[in-house]
Amino acid sequence: MVNPMDKFTEKLPQYLEDGLTEAETIELEAHLADCAVCQAEFDALTRFDRLLASAPMAAPAPNFVAVFETKLERRLNRRRTLLGVLVIGSLLTAFSAVLVWGVFVSGAELWQWLSAGSLWQVGFDIFNGLVVVGVTIGKIAAITFDALAKLMRHPALWGYVSVGVGLVWLWVQLFRWTNFARQPVAVRSQPSA
């Protein structure tokens, strides 16, 4: 069932939003003045606007800003606390992860090493090394002793040795003297006459 009035009622919202042409507006306004049904429809559509006129901008409670400041402070504190917990928590997690990793990995390596029986090998190697060092030191001492004994049997060699030592001493003295001479001489300020 098509209501002939629909033609007008459909246009009413557009009319309210100034969306009609001038001709349409004139036609609609003329119809509105006559038709009770369309008038009722128009009233229903503009009821909101009429109610709105009696509802001014609502104001909040007087302590609105103070309450806001408290809430903001609390929120910021909570955020800071959360951030702190997050940072400390992640640091602790990382630290304990490293610790666990270290304990497990090194533990596993130690276990592998021990179970391979290489501890005895290392002990033997160290002992062997000590023996070798001892033997070497003994040989060096023997050679030195032998050389000294040969030197004492040929007195001419004493002369060579003493001349060598004397020359080395002279060189050292010369070197020390030249080094000393290169140092700047402190200038003493003399009181002028």
Partner: protein, 208 residues
């Protein structure tokens, strides 16, 4: 209505100074902004949520969010419409959550099926007068995003462009929402009048 916004709006130079200081963490500067804009932002929340207690809470939450994401504010935009955008989005979320809460787990056990007595229900209607109550009843018939568009258009006299920017949609979507909102509210208003008419008709029948 609009004159209140104009009267409360600070000069733009002072406002941008406050914003700049607030961006560097100056909370007192931001409090100045809250003082200036508390009324319009509260009004958006009040008209959308329909009661004062929720509206104050929502408005404060909107300001807190604004402070926390102040560095995302584009200074080419009007500060007020940026605030309205945050406030209306927050209210839309709240209304959607409320709608979800209508069927919560608490309602499921049979001992909760018996409705509480009317006098025991919390949030006794605290509306100021008959007109406000009717107005909020009409607004309540609209979906949250329609309500936001209506509030921004009629109380804050924002342009279609501004509303579209605030609600993250297009101008044509806003226009059709406002158009449909008006139709919905007209229908709701008619429905409200219908029961009394029906009583008028049925009453003589029962007598017969």
């Amino acid at each position: 209505m609009s004159d209140t916004v104009a009267a409360d709006a600070p000069n733009l130079k002072l406002e941008s100074q406050w914003i700049a200081r607030a961006r560097q963490g100056d909370q007192t500067a931001f409090s100045q902004l809250v003082t200036v804009y508390q009324k319009p932002v509260f009004n958006v929340c009040y008209r959308m949520l329909g009661n004062r207690a929720d509206a104050e809470d929502a408005a404060q939450e909107a300001f807190i969010r604004a402070y926390l994401k102040l560095d995302t504010y584009n200074t080419d935009r009007k500060f007020s419409s940026w605030l309205f955008s945050i406030a209306s989005h927050h209210c839309i979320d709240r209304l959607r959550k409320q709608r979800m809460k209508l069927v919560s787990w608490d309602d499921l056990p049979p001992w909760n099926w018996i409705p509480a007595k009317k006098s025991e229900q919390p949030e006794a209607v605290m509306v100021e007068n008959e007109n406000t109550r009717e107005l909020h009843a009409l607004l309540n018939t609209l979906p949250p995003d329609y309500r936001a568009a209506v509030v921004l258009k009629y109380w804050h006299e924002m342009s279609y462009d501004e509303i579209a920017a605030s609600l993250d949609t297009t101008v044509s979507a806003i226009k059709s929402k406002l158009f449909r909102a008006r139709k919905m509210m007209a229908q709701a208003a008619k429905k409200k009048e219908a029961p009394s008419a029906a009583v008028g008709i049925t009453a003589p029948l029962t007598v017969l």
